[in-house]
């Protein structure tokens, strides 16, 4: 456990160091830049609120990926499930008009269902035909993207009349999430979802089986766990989380389905899960970390003239370095342990 945390932090540290080198080459001050990043994302309640709101889709798609990876199935369909969740929430949101206490849960349920259904297609194909969910979810991403794009093209079936860019009509006001003080309600929803998933994964019998199956499927099977059924359920849940992310973005940000919604979050969920090594709590933390990076980036540009795109490079470097160092570190530790054993057995035989 401590080893995991250490290697994760080491990875980030090295990556930040490499970023600093790049900045120095460009003739800038790393501390000034990093300082600006921190101040702009976490400096005061205002900024913190924005950062947290931006963290919602990151954390939820991250949890979607982490949950799946940690339990066995490889779900790379977050982009597609995100869109389907957004679509479902939008569809219901424009078809029905109810007061908020009813509307909000309804839209959330729709978003969950949309994402779960899309993941369910992949789960079904795996279950019935043993088709690798890895590839299926990837392919379904593109299908979802193209499908939703078609729906909202100008004069398309779901397009808003008279719109100048591809987008759907706005959802009813009852479904729009406002703020409590500075902080948007979607943050609360995300927190509840994260807590719920954490609880299920770590404190229920089902979560136990998922964990063990993710570590050693054969052992779980021999112990009597219904591994295949569990894989299916996890896929659905994972899809639901990504769908929720999409739905919340519609409900709290755009209020409608617009072109390219969620595109910039497409792979971030997987990225966060990879850096967090599929641990749920770490996923939440890294989600917030990357949200801070991305939120601060825009303002950082104004203050320090470093382009916000620098963040994307930094993110990629963080992923590569943290994963490589993790593997390298564990290989190193294994070798040290082996050497220690050799020494012991050599001594024992004398």
């Amino acid at each position: 456990m401590a080893q995991k945390l250490f290697s994760a932090l080491a990875g980030i540290g090295i990556a930040l160091g490499m970023g600093a080198v790049i900045l120095v080459i460009e003739g800038r001050q790393p501390f000034e830049v990093y300082g600006a990043l921190a101040a702009l994302s976490l400096g005061d309640a205002d900024k913190l609120a924005i950062t947290l709101k931006n963290a919602v889709p990151l954390i939820l798609t991250g949890l979607s990926a982490s949950l799946a990876f940690a339990s066995g199935p490889v779900n790379l369909g977050q982009p597609g499930q995100f869109l389907m969740g957004a679509l479902a929430a939008t569809l219901v949101g424009i078809s029905v008009d109810l007061p908020a206490p009813l509307m909000v849960p309804l839209l959330i349920a729709a978003a969950l269902a949309g994402g779960a259904m899309w993941a369910g297609v992949a789960a079904l194909l795996r279950h019935a035909f043993n088709m690798s969910e890895f590839i299926v979810t990837l392919m379904l991403n593109s299908v979802a993207e193209l499908f939703t794009a078609w729906l909202i093209t100008i004069d398309g079936p779901l397009a808003e009349a008279g719109a100048l860019s591809p987008r759907s009509p706005a959802i009813a006001s009852g479904g729009r999430l406002g703020d409590i003080g500075e902080f948007n309600i979607s943050i609360v929803v995300m927190a509840l979802a994260a807590l719920a998933i954490w609880y299920v994964f770590h404190r229920t019998r089902a979560g136990y089986e998922w964990r063990i199956a993710g570590q050693n499927t054969l052992f779980a099977r021999l112990g009597g766990c219904p591994v295949d059924r569990n894989f299916f359920i996890v896929m659905l849940l994972s899809g639901a989380l990504a769908g929720l992310a999409g739905g919340l973005l519609v409900m709290s940000g755009t209020y409608r389905l617009i072109r390219g919604i969620g595109a910039n979050y497409a792979w971030d969920g997987v990225m966060i899960a990879v850096v967090a090594n599929s641990a749920l709590a770490a996923t939440v933390l890294y989600g917030m970390f990357f949200a801070a990076l991305q939120t601060g980036a825009l303002g950082m540009e104004l203050l320090t003239a470093v382009p916000s795109e620098f963040i994307q490079v930094l993110q990629a470097v963080i992923v590569l370095v943290s994963v490589a160092s993790r593997g390298y570190l564990s290989a190193l530790l294994d070798r040290l342990a082996l050497r220690r054993l050799h020494r012991h057995s050599a001594i024992a035989r004398q």
């Binding site: 194909l125 299908v143 990879v274 990629a316 590569l320």
Partner: protein
């Protein structure tokens, strides 16, 4: 008739980058490397091509830069996935992210623009008119006058097929994918073969990227590879890496590209024709999984 000629020309143009990337992917596929970084290699290639061409005023330098850029990504892949034994899938994802971020960042830094960079100073790769062929009525309009890289891609397909099926290198390449332990016991280290495959993939993807930015257009746009690397991956999987099969699929994709515009004129939404490659991959996967299941009957988990 005009329409057909237009379609065929469009098909060749659309097929070329996919073909090159897929040929590169074929090498890594045969070698047993799980390589999903073609998308990133294409993007980096496109960027470096525009960069090189602009700063040197020569398209040849541009193409060389494209290859160099994509090779850089290959080297990173080799460093992480082969030397450090990082998971190949994660490495691919990270490299794609890196390519996307770096090209966007450098676009800002070096050219001071966002979104796309276009300038008269960028030298495009020229078209080639073949003297006698160009005079053949109708067919001549398709067979001659294509961009240089289109012809290069065709030659590359031939060359790759020869390399893979007729040389000792190719024999060892496929052996590394079929049974690396057997290759090792024959005295050849699979890692070396895999490194070679990744380098070749870099060269080919670099060429493909150069076509994207210096072929029929003269610009670099963010995300220019637009999923062609993923389509190349699908193509490789669909035909199990066979270069001829890959060429065929690339042409089909190119055709779908051209048909898309045509069909839009007929009223079919481009998005649906765009879905074809992905659905085709699903079908192929279905067939593949069925075949595997039949072979596994009777064996334990």
């Amino acid at each position: 008739m005009r329409i057909v000629i237009g379609l065929l020309n469009g098909m060749l143009a659309g097929a070329t980058p996919v073909l090159l990337a897929a040929l590169g992917g074929a090498f890594t596929f045969y070698a047993g490397v799980f390589n999903i970084a073609m998308e990133g290699m294409l993007l980096v290639g496109a960027f470096c091509a525009a960069l090189g061409s602009f700063f040197s005023g020569s398209w040849m330098i541009g193409v060389l830069c494209a290859v160099a850029g994509a090779l850089l990504l290959s080297l990173l892949f080799i460093l992480f996935a082969i030397a450090l034994k990082t998971d190949e899938f994660v490495t691919g994802i990270a490299l794609n992210l890196f390519a996307s971020g770096a090209t966007t960042y450098l676009l800002r830094q070096l050219f001071g623009v966002r979104g796309a960079f276009t300038d008269a100073g960028i030298q495009a790769v020229p078209r080639v008119e073949i003297p006698l062929v160009s005079q053949i009525p109708l067919a001549g309009e398709v067979l001659s006058g294509q961009n240089l890289i289109v012809y290069a891609a065709a030659l590359a397909a031939l060359g790759c097929a020869w390399l893979i099926f007729r040389t000792p290198f190719g024999l060892r390449l496929r052996a590394a994918g079929y049974n690396a332990a057997s290759l090792e016991s024959s005295g050849v280290r699979p890692a070396r073969v895999r490194v070679a495959a990744l380098l070749i993939c870099g060269v080919l993807c670099g060429l493909g990227g150069a076509f994207l930015s210096l072929g029929y257009v003269r610009l670099f746009a963010e995300g220019m590879s637009a999923g062609r690397g993923w389509i190349a991956l699908a193509a490789v999987i669909l035909v199990n890496g066979n270069p001829w099969g890959v060429a065929l699929i690339a042409l089909l994709f190119g055709l779908a590209d051209g048909m898309g515009l045509f069909a839009q004129g007929l009223g079919v939404p481009a998005q649906f024709t765009g879905m074809l490659p992905y659905i085709a991959t699903l079908i192929a996967l279905f067939v593949y999984a069925r075949r595997k299941r039949r072979a596994r009957l009777g064996q334990s988990v």
